[in-house]
Symmetry: C3
Subunit: 155 residues, 3 copies
């Protein structure tokens, strides 16, 4: 009985971990398009990194500043969707990897256009406050080998 209970607890923990990570990744697009700087920054660990084509953020504060930047504020004032697909999660104890593709759709003068398709690779860690992103890399799917290697993490 004790053994079966312990096995159930371990299996349920893995399920909860996977769901917590898919929820965290699913919150990024809506929150960044809402302009919710505190909440977006809170997806990362205090010293978490976000490396996105020529912009390498190295802390929660850097991510917070990105959301409040003129560039991002201009984007959301005009209308945009950072549309992330369902994350593929691989658990490894207190570490995890999540991989998904993304589209950036932008509104301008009454029309919507896909401005970029991207490859996203997240490394996450279980902290006392829950799962947080320690490193995210995003690259445009423009045929580069680097972008394709990020996607290969979904195995």
């Amino acid at each position: 009985m004790e053994e079966r209970l312990a096995a159930l607890e371990a299996r349920l923990q893995r399920v909860e971990d996977e769901l917590a990570i898919t929820r965290l990744v699913a919150s990024y697009g809506p929150l960044v398009d809402a302009g919710s700087a505190d909440e977006v920054a809170g997806i990362w660990a205090e010293d978490g990194e976000y490396d996105v084509e020529g912009w390498h953020m190295r802390s929660r504060a850097d991510v917070h500043a990105m959301v409040l930047s003129d560039g991002h504020q201009h984007l959301i004032a005009g209308g945009c969707a950072h549309f992330l697909g369902p994350a593929h999660v691989t658990l490894d104890g207190d570490d995890a990897v999540a991989v998904c593709e993304s589209l950036l759709v932008r509104h301008r003068e009454g029309a919507f256009n896909v401005r970029r398709a991207g490859a996203n690779h997240f490394r996450l860690r279980r902290l006392t406050e829950g799962w947080r992103v320690v490193h995210r890399t995003t690259r445009a799917l423009d045929g580069s080998a680097e972008a394709r290697e990020l996607l290969a993490g979904a195995r």
Copy 2:
């Protein structure tokens, strides 16, 4: 032992609730693009509402009529995808909120185009027949503050 069992049951219930809601939201796009009026209407509670830019449906019957409307039938006869992203679910007992972004992609004369990016906010309730939508609000992501506020619910 009893305590551990009860704790497991409560945790598993939350997991099942979250999955039931993500499944319900994930069924909307396929079913509405299939033109399955009964099944789309069945996503809502009997008196559930769907408020989408100038069209405020106030019952399952209203949602059913929307699927059968000339406007929607014309859309699916030409080809379209109401493409919803992964829902971010927040549970609160027998109530829940789900937030996701969406794209409307339309086929015309051999070409596919993004016609709209949208913000979606669902309020759901656990009824005897399962989780159902009691209120959905959808707004175009055209820079309006209203659309951004809907997305901010994904925290």
Copy 3:
């Protein structure tokens, strides 16, 4: 006590099955865009089929050959995203159905465009090595009744 444990085990198994299938489907887009032929082929059963508009693959080897084909290699060398939405899963013991919509986004000369919206219907089976696809059908959402019928499986 024994009864409650057994009930928990059965419920948890269903949750794990649903998550395993959503993970499997979520891996297709990233892996096919990465060009990971072995891993993409491994999503299917040995004699699994993939029927996609005029191309009917009838084995893991056929799927492997598709990933390595000139057509697909040209596509990923230029940049593309096979962007699948969240899968709606229906379990039936050791069989399951998953339905989702998809977008094919292609990069060319610095611009990204939606080239196709598709309807996807997967039949899966639990094998000794885990859940695998036994039959996938994909059709363009160009208004055809066949594509709409595939989506109607998300009920």
